[in-house]
Amino acid sequence: MILPFVIYMVLFFMFSIFYLLFTSIGDKKDRFIHYRNILKNKDFYYFLRYTTKINFVTIVIVLVITIFLLYLIYKNNLNRYVKIEIFNKIISFPILIPYISCSYGVTLLLLKTPKLFGINFKNFINDEFGIGIILAYVWKITPFMLFMALPTLNKASKKWEKLRMVYNISEWEYFKGVILPLVLPNINIGLFLVLTYLYSSYEVPYILGVSYPKTLMVWIVERYKKEFFYSREEIMALNCILGVISLIFSYIVSIFIKCILKIEKREW
């Protein structure tokens, strides 16, 4: 049963990775020249800093909103303010919208929103701080994170609710002390996936970002589109570097959350 899957993976997936690696290394005359060129390029570091800043601000906001919404969902599970089906539909809607449509949607929304409290929302389109990009990311990613955590939350909130009452623990204390440590491993996996994705995301920063600086992926795709097949070795090297960077940063975040979990457990 597993053989067709393995053949498929080796043929189409692993082959592409090996092809990418071998192309990026360059010819015999000067091995790794493309990697050296990239690491000497000032734009690379500038774009890396810009990309990382946007990605980390995004995941921090997503994390805060996700935890806040999980608390609301938990409260709703106990008190049934809103039907769960309606809630599920609302949060699953952004997942169904492709990133490119989401980006144009955010652009139109910001263009049409009138000034509120002296804030001109038009300024967030193609702004140099990447606010438009972060808004689009948060709108798309938060529901995904919620879906990662919801099964555990629903199970835990039902299972030990009576115990909470016996010990007379407040809903917030119970959420913080019991539910959150239980859902954090799921959120951790979600953040790992999201962060690796954000480094390779193209449509949102392309549509909502500024011309300069640009995210690393926009830089790669623009160069990829401009250059022909035989001059793409450096782009392949850039892809490899970006892949490694995204894994390193995602791993660091993952370790960081695991550390928090350990501290939480000790308290518990």
Partner: protein
């Protein structure tokens, strides 16, 4: 037993006959970023060719023609004989690469029956590169600007008046990023307006780079008066149009002469929109159709191209409600009835007259000069 034999025989005959009648689909690789173009191909071209030639055409939309160019280069490297592309829509730098790498079918121009009806001028050079029968002209394009007449008269007619307009209407002017085809064309047009077409053509690449300093000074002066103070540029023509239709900016642009009529018809632009040209002229070029030499069905591909340049489909293409792209046919070679019909499409108060279009046009620069301009813009304008 008898019944089984008859049944099997019937299946065999059915399969055999259907195999014989089955014609290969012709794949038409085209940039898929325009609703008007896509609808024209899907609703008019494909049914017409099927009815008249019995050939099924499949439009393959692509984000960037460079992807298709790369696909052909990879197929050549891999020695693939039966390629998946039958006809592709191409011009300029991409044609140059395809021609130089030898992946295009030779002499297709003379093998297309309707080639006798084409304007001869369209069959010689593509962005300065000799065509030599490797492509067949498909349409004519001229860069033009669009404004809303409710905001006043024509905003500018030269690079000097553009500067004045931008200074008097801060934040109301912009152009797409040079990484985009339209943005690149705009910058090229301003380069020609400042340095002069004939001067540029006579310059070596080194001389051209030195002379471009004056152009970069011009763009640096313009930058703070642009939309978002020139800190960013719309990523493509679509975004430029979106900003224009939402009243964020005063001017948009494009390479299709009838763009303004098509966009008014689709409700994207206000009824009061109108297009205009620069006094010294705007860029003019042709776009073409080519056949890769590893196409599986070259004969049918030629028939498809023949239909695409036929008076009927060229006329449909020029209708503003379809695509609005100008024809490559020589009017003198058409019947009086056909000439009259074509003339009707050019009568529009929204676009410059045929005489004005003819007078105010400059030819495209060779691909080498184009690369120098794009690199120079990124280094001098985008990064500063």
């Amino acid at each position: 037993m008898k019944k089984i034999i008859i049944f099997l025989g019937a299946i065999f005959l059915f399969l055999f006959s259907s195999c014989n009648n089955k014609k290969e689909e012709i794949s038409l690789y085209m940039w898929g970023g325009s609703n008007e173009v896509n609808t024209y191909i899907d609703k008019i071209v494909i049914p017409y060719i099927y009815e008249n030639e019995g050939i099924k055409v499949k439009r393959v939309p692509i984000v960037d023609i460079k992807d298709t160019v790369n696909k052909l280069l990879i197929e050549k490297e891999a020695g693939k004989k039966d390629g998946s592309i039958d006809v592709l829509w191409v011009n300029g730098e991409n044609f140059k690469v395809l021609k130089e790498t030898g992946v295009l079918e030779k002499d297709i121009l003379s093998r297309v029956e309707n080639y006798k009806l084409l304007k001869e001028s369209t069959t010689i050079r593509d962005f300065g590169v000799l065509i030599e029968g490797y492509e067949v002209p498909f349409g004519e394009a001229q860069f033009n600007f669009i404004y809303d007449t409710r905001n006043g008269d024509v905003p500018f007619t030269s690079h000097q008046t553009l500067m004045e307009y931008a200074k008097n209407h801060k934040g109301r002017v912009t152009y797409p990023n040079v990484s985009n085809f339209t943005g690149s064309a705009f910058v090229r047009n301003i380069v020609i307006d400042i340095l002069g077409y004939d001067n540029i053509i006579s310059m070596s690449d080194e001389e051209f780079e030195k002379n471009l300093v004056a152009v970069w000074d011009y763009f640096k002066e313009l930058k703070p008066y642009l939309w978002k103070e020139g800190k960013t540029y719309p990523e493509n023509e679509g975004k430029q149009d979106l900003l224009f239709s939402n009243g964020e900016i005063d001017i948009t642009m494009g390479y299709t002469i009838n763009k303004v009529n098509s966009k008014i018809a689709s409700g994207d632009y206000p009824e009061s929109s109108k297009s205009f040209l620069l006094d010294k002229g705007t860029l003019f070029n042709n776009h073409y159709l080519a056949i890769p030499n590893n196409s599986k069905n070259k004969e049918d591909a030629l028939k498809v191209i023949n239909c695409l340049i036929s008076p009927k489909l060229q006329m449909e293409k020029q209708k503003p409600e379809n695509w609005g792209d100008y024809s490559v046919l020589d009017m003198k070679k058409l019947t009086l009835e056909e000439q009259r019909k074509f003339e009707e499409f050019t009568k529009s108060s929204k676009i410059p007259t045929m005489v004005e279009l003819g007078e105010k046009r400059v030819m495209e620069l060779p691909p080498e000069k184009l690369v120098i301009i794009e690199k120079g813009w990124v280094e001098n304008i985008e990064k500063n």
